[in-house]
C-alpha cells in the first residue's frame, strides 16, 4: 500500500509547478484581465463596473479601427505571401537541384533572427535618402521607388516585405518535409500521363499537404496577431497611424496612456480573434483524429 502511494505521489508533485503556472499565471491572469476590461480603470484598477463601455469605446476609437484594419492587411498579405513563396521554394528545391542544402540554409536563416533585427535592416534598405531607392536612382533608374515606409499609404506593405523575408523560410521547410513524405509512385504515374511538373505540384501534391499547410498557416496567423516588435523596430507605428497594430495599441494604453480598462478590453478582443481563428483548425484535426480512429 505504501508503495502504491509513492507511485502516484511523485509524478503529481513533479508536474505541480506547471499546474501552478497554468492555474495562477495563465488562467488567473486571464480572468483578472477579463475582469478589468469591464471596469472603468484608468491608471489604477478600479472596482467600478461599467459593463461593455470599454469595448464600445474601443470600437469607437479610430486608432483601434485603423490598427485592426492594418493588421488585416498585413495578416492576409503576410500569411498568403509566406505560403505562396514558401511553397514555390519548396517545390523548386524538391526538383533534385544542386546545392539544395546551401539554398535551404539561405532561405531559412532570417527566421533565426529577432524581429527587431529584421525591422531595422529593412528600415535601412528602405531609407529614402541613402537606401536602395537612392542607389538605384543614382545608377540611372530615375523612376525607381522603394521608400514605402515614409508613405502613409504604403508603409504597411513595407512591413509586409520585411515579414515575408523573415517568415517564408519556415513555410519552405515545412512544405519540403511534407513533399518528401509523398509516395514516389504518384510521380511515376504523372510522368506516364505526361502531366507537367508544375501541374503535379498544384493539383496533386498541394492537396495532400493539407495538415502541414494548416499547421503552418495557424502558426503564421498566431504570429500576425502578436505582431509588435517588427512594427516597433521598423516604423514605430508611423507615419501617423499607418502601421499601428493592436498589440502596440494595447501596450501604449497599458504603459503610457494609463488606460487600463481600454487596454484590457483590447487584449480580450485580441484573445477572441485567436479563438475564432484556432477553433476551426482544432475542431478539424479533432474530427480527423476521430475518423482515423474509427477507420482503424
Amino acid at each position: 500500500m505504501a508503495r502504491r502511494q509513492k507511485k502516484s505521489f511523485m509524478p503529481a508533485l513533479a508536474i505541480l509547478p506547471t499546474w501552478l503556472t497554468v492555474v495562477v499565471v495563465y488562467i488567473g491572469a486571464m480572468v483578472w484581465t477579463l475582469n478589468l476590461s469591464f471596469t472603468k480603470s484608468k491608471l489604477f484598477p478600479s472596482g467600478a463596473y461599467v459593463g461593455f463601455d470599454q469595448y464600445e469605446r474601443l470600437l469607437g476609437s479610430s486608432k483601434w479601427i485603423k490598427a485592426v484594419s492594418n493588421l488585416a492587411t498585413f495578416g492576409v498579405l503576410y500569411v498568403l505571401g509566406c505560403l505562396v513563396i514558401g511553397f514555390c521554394l519548396a517545390a523548386a528545391l524538391d526538383r533534385k537541384v544542386r546545392f539544395e542544402n546551401a539554398f535551404r540554409t539561405l532561405f531559412l536563416y532570417p527566421y533565426a533572427m529577432s524581429f527587431v533585427v529584421t525591422g531595422l535592416v529593412w528600415q535601412w534598405l528602405m531609407n529614402p535618402v541613402l537606401g536602395v531607392q537612392a542607389t538605384m536612382q543614382g545608377l540611372g533608374w530615375e523612376s525607381f521607388s522603394f521608400d514605402l515606409l515614409t508613405s502613409r499609404d504604403y508603409a504597411i506593405y513595407g512591413v509586409v516585405i520585411a515579414g515575408l523575408w523573415q517568415g517564408s523560410g519556415l513555410v519552405m521547410v515545412m512544405m519540403l518535409a511534407g513533399m518528401r513524405g509523398i509516395d514516389v509512385e504518384q510521380w511515376r504515374a504523372a510522368r506516364v500521363d505526361g502531366i507537367p511538373a508544375w501541374r503535379v505540384y498544384v493539383s496533386i501534391i498541394l492537396p495532400q499537404l493539407g495538415p502541414p499547410l494548416a499547421a503552418v498557416a495557424t502558426l503564421l496567423t498566431m504570429g500576425v496577431i502578436k505582431t509588435y516588435d517588427l512594427v516597433i523596430a521598423i516604423t514605430n507605428g508611423g507615419p501617423g497611424t499607418a502601421t499601428e497594430v493592436p498589440a502596440k495599441f494595447i501596450m501604449d494604453n497599458l504603459f503610457q496612456r494609463q488606460n487600463l480598462g481600454l487596454a484590457t478590453a483590447a487584449a480580450i478582443m485580441l484573445l477572441m480573434s485567436v479563438v475564432i481563428i484556432v477553433a476551426p483548425f482544432r475542431y478539424a484535426s479533432y474530427i480527423r483524429a476521430k475518423r482515423k480512429a474509427g477507420v482503424l
Partner: protein, 297 residues
C-alpha cells in the same frame, strides 16, 4: 520489368539542360538574392565610413575595411543620453537567457517524462490547458503579471525576467519532450520499474541520457526564442537588465542628431550574431526543432 532502370527517378542527376531547368535555377538564385542581400547590405554598411554611406551606394563594397563602427556599436553608441554601446545589453541577454534556458528545459523534460510514462491524474487536462495557454497573446497576461511581480518584489529584476521566460517557455518545452518520450518504448520504463527504480532514478539514469538529442533541440529553440525576445524584456527586465534587442532598438530608433548608419548596422549584426551562429552551426537540428514545435498548430 526490364524497363525499371528507365522509370526509376533516382540515380545520377539529370545532365540535360532544358528551359525548365534554367528557369528553375533562375528562380532559386533570385530567391537566394532576396534573402541574402539584406545580410550583405548590413555587413558592408557596418564597414563603411559615414561619408561613404552618404554617397548613397548601398550595394557598393567599402573602399577600405573600417571597423571603427563596430567598436562604437559595442562600447560607445548612444541610446538617448547614455553612450555605453550594446555591450551591457549583450551581457544582460546572456544573464537572462542562460538560466531561463536551463530551467525551462529541465522543467520541460520532467513534465514530458511524467506525462508520458507516469500519467498522473489530470495530466492530460494540464497539458491541454498549457497548450491552449500558449496561444494566448502575451498582452492578456501582462498587467496582472506586472502587478504580481511587483507585489513579490521581482518586477524589474533579473530573477523576475528569468521567471517570466520560464513561465512562457513551459508549453513549447513540455510539448517537445512529451512528444519525444512517447516514441521511447514503454517496455524500457516498465523494466526499470520492475528493477525497483523510482521516479527520479528512472528519469536521471535512463530517460535523461536517452533524450540528449531532444535536450539539444529544446535548448536551441529556447535559446533563440529568449535571445530574440523583445516584449517581455522591455516590460519585465527593468532599466538595468534590458536585453540586447531592446537596447539595440533604443540605440537605432531614439538617436538625436545625425544617425550613424554604420554603427546601427554593426549593432544590429552583433545582436543577430548569436542566434545566427547557432543556426549556421546546427542547421539540421534547428530545422528539427522548428518541425517538432510547429506540430502544435
Amino acid at each position: 520489368m526490364t524497363r525499371s532502370a528507365e522509370i526509376n527517378p533516382r540515380g545520377a542527376k539529370p545532365t540535360r539542360i532544358t528551359a525548365g531547368r534554367i528557369g528553375l535555377y533562375a528562380f532559386l538564385i533570385s530567391a537566394a538574392l532576396f534573402f541574402t542581400v539584406p545580410l550583405y547590405v548590413m555587413i558592408v554598411t557596418s564597414l563603411k565610413t559615414m561619408p561613404e554611406i552618404r554617397a548613397a551606394r548601398i550595394f557598393a563594397l567599402p573602399d577600405h575595411l573600417d571597423f571603427s563602427a563596430w567598436k562604437v556599436a559595442w562600447a560607445g553608441a548612444c541610446a538617448g543620453a547614455e553612450c555605453a554601446g550594446i555591450r551591457a545589453g549583450f551581457l544582460n541577454s546572456v544573464l537572462i537567457t542562460l538560466p531561463s534556458v536551463v530551467i525551462s528545459v529541465l522543467f520541460g523534460a520532467i513534465n514530458g517524462y511524467a506525462l508520458s510514462f507516469w500519467r498522473p491524474r489530470g495530466g492530460n487536462l494540464m497539458f491541454g490547458l498549457l497548450m491552449a495557454g500558449a496561444l494566448v497573446p502575451y498582452q492578456v497576461f501582462l498587467y496582472p503579471l506586472v502587478r504580481g511581480f511587483a507585489a513579490l518584489g521581482l518586477y524589474n529584476s533579473l530573477i523576475g525576467i528569468v521567471i517570466v521566460h520560464v513561465l512562457f517557455g513551459l508549453p513549447l518545452v513540455t510539448l517537445l519532450f512529451r512528444n519525444y518520450f512517447v516514441t521511447i518504448p514503454e517496455e524500457l520504463f516498465k523494466a526499470s520499474r520492475l528493477d525497483g527504480a523510482g521516479f527520479w532514478r528512472i528519469f536521471l539514469e535512463i530517460m535523461l541520457p536517452m533524450s540528449v538529442p531532444m535536450l539539444v533541440v529544446a535548448a536551441m529553440m529556447q535559446f533563440t526564442g529568449i535571445w530574440n525576445d523583445f516584449l517581455l524584456g522591455l516590460v519585465f527586465a527593468g532599466r538595468d537588465n534590458l536585453p540586447m534587442t531592446v537596447q539595440l532598438n533604443n540605440i537605432v530608433n531614439t538617436t538625436t542628431g545625425e544617425r550613424l548608419y554604420n554603427v546601427n548596422m554593426a549593432a544590429t549584426i552583433l545582436t543577430a550574431l548569436v542566434p545566427l551562429a547557432i543556426y549556421f552551426f546546427s542547421g539540421r537540428w534547428f530545422v528539427r526543432g522548428i518541425a517538432a514545435g510547429a506540430v502544435k498548430g
